[in-house]
Symmetry: C2
């Protein structure tokens, strides 16, 4: 199923147009978090009739609140606001809001329509598109959820102008991954773009190309039976880095972990499939400049490999499964890599980025 | 999407075969309620290796427990039992278990496979087939859920031999509805069958034909955009009777309410579309013999009409929407009936069944 992806400098106008197109005869709801409610919602409401008239449901911000409690609170808000099967929900916020909001909408009266309006670059590139919805459960990320596409995703960089640079870099990490999945040319263009310059106007067309990569992959394989696993490039080591950093109580943004994880996967791709070492070296420079270093030592290898082994992408407990590349644009899914080679890759990783 | 519907006298063997076919590499779970856990599960486990080896999750029985609390308890059980994306869940019980179990499975890790094994006639005819899953929320029936088909439904009448006659009659009410949707011939054959004789061997092929009606409707319209509304025959007045009886603290089984509701819809069908009065009279006799009377008076009309108006099938608040018939097998969806005609139909209803 194809979903409407709208890239625009006028998100308020597009929201009013989309809400009219969907011609919802039920009440319209906006779901947002307290942070976005104060920073972004007033700007949107100033220009959008739909936003002004909608019932607003606010949940506390932060991934820790992507919980069953917040979910019940959203369902409550829908019941109390008189939502019907024809109601429409607008998810306005980062990935936490689009994830939980998409799940709440997809399960309310067995599914009402919803539109995502990502307010962070990471959500625009990743969470808001592709139909993965859900909540965390018992400390397990995205343990409960469904695959369900938003009716439309309205992506505008005007929401990003107040984001701290760390948030932009986090989104850029996922963008780099998409560039690599696309082609060498796309990857090089992306590396040549300076995200830290905060040029939101220039970002919009780049984002459109970049999200297009994800869209095409998801359209071919919405429920992750095969090709969609390509989007896991960088994520097996990335999730391990994220968990490792969390365990040290020095959490790193998701996109940072992915940017580092992509590098590990590039090294493995070089070892297994002869991925070009020139591209690898070039990426190492970008990585150091933008994301700094990740202070892992060989004492951390056991823990990192353990995290990789327990990644939910691994269907059996023993093997560790990676999405790798023969070259930019040429994907090698389901690459099982022996522990010894992972250790070697981590050695090279430390050599090149520390 | 077509789902495997298996009618069998050997449910244990079929379960072992199906579980093998699905070739789940993850652990197998059985969800059941405490009532079924003591009455049916031991019989199944005596003959099925799969049932003996499965992890059992038990929830308290009764529609009041088709709740968010029970849902969280099932998800807990899956996490604690080490369920993976390749796990399989067997929902063993009445409609309450297949509804909540289907929802829990469809949302765990964005969906694991599940098989329904209905242990009541009503669940076999209605809940276990067709992919409606969900829970009640804030006193609203099935307010939260998704459309999600079981990978297989194993239907066996051997489970029904200990059911009280009221449970058999409740299921038979939905069967009569399916007969009417099929053809005059199917409806007459069904009325000629004596459900109270408890001949479980004879019931199986009748059930197979009957569930086939629902299956065909659902295959054409899985998410109830159109044709599937045919299955709501009898349900607009039926739900009103159910709510009315509940309010008087003398609840009636769902299938009884449907059997009475079908009669109201037949009367409306006669008034609006000339539905054959001979069939109507014949049904009135069956109804009185099997289900007795429903002691409504004209003082109850306002309340009944109010319940009908607030049925969730009604998309706008004012109109009351019925699924009616021009004749057996010829459906008239989305029939809007004025209040005055509903009152007349209730008068005729009282004349004929009281």
């Amino acid at each position: 199923m194809s979903q409407q992806l709208i890239f625009t400098d006028s998100p308020a106008l597009e929201l009013d147009r989309i809400a009219g197109d969907i011609s919802s005869t039920g009440r319209i709801f906006i779901l947002t978090d307290d942070h976005t409610a104060s920073l972004v919602l007033p700007r949107l409401a100033a220009e959008s009739c739909v936003a002004r008239q909608a019932a607003v449901i606010t949940i506390p911000s932060g991934d820790v609140n992507k919980s069953l409690d917040s979910l019940a609170r959203i369902w409550d808000g829908l019941v109390e606001g008189g939502a019907t099967r024809r109601s429409l929900m607008i998810n306005l916020g980062g990935g936490m809001v689009t994830d939980i909001g998409g799940f709440a909408a997809s399960t309310f009266k067995r599914g009402i329509r919803f539109v995502n309006m990502p307010t962070t670059l990471l959500a625009a590139v990743d969470a808001s598109v592709g139909g993965k919805t859900g909540i965390n459960f018992h400390g397990l990320k995205n343990e409960i959820g469904v695959f369900s596409q938003a009716d439309a995703v309205i992506i505008s960089t005007v929401f990003f102008d107040t984001l701290p640079v760390e948030e932009l870099l986090s989104g850029y990490g996922e963008m780099l991954k998409h560039g690599l999945l696309e082609s060498l040319d796309a990857f090089r263009k992306l590396m040549a773009y300076d995200i830290t310059a905060r040029d939101m106007k220039a970002l919009l067309p780049i984002l459109e190309d970049n999200v297009g990569v994800k869209r095409r992959v998801v359209e071919e394989d919405p429920t992750e039976k095969g090709l969609r696993k390509a989007l896991n490039l960088g994520h097996t080591p990335g999730h391990a880095f994220e968990s490792w950093a969390m365990h040290r109580r020095q959490p790193i943004p998701h996109g940072y972990a992915v940017a580092f994880g992509v590098f590990v996967d590039m090294i493995l791709s070089h070892m297994l499939y002869g991925f070009d070492s020139g591209v690898l070296q070039q990426y190492a420079v970008t990585l150091r400049n933008l994301y700094g270093t990740l202070p892992i030592t060989c004492d951390d290898y056991d823990a990192l490999i353990d995290y990789m082994r327990h990644d939910k992408k691994n269907v059996s407990g023993a093997d560790i499964n990676f999405s790798l590349l023969a070259s930019p644009g040429h994907i090698r899914l389901d690459s099982i890599v022996p522990e010894e080679q992972i250790r070697q890759a981590l050695d090279i990783f430390r050599d090149l980025v520390q």
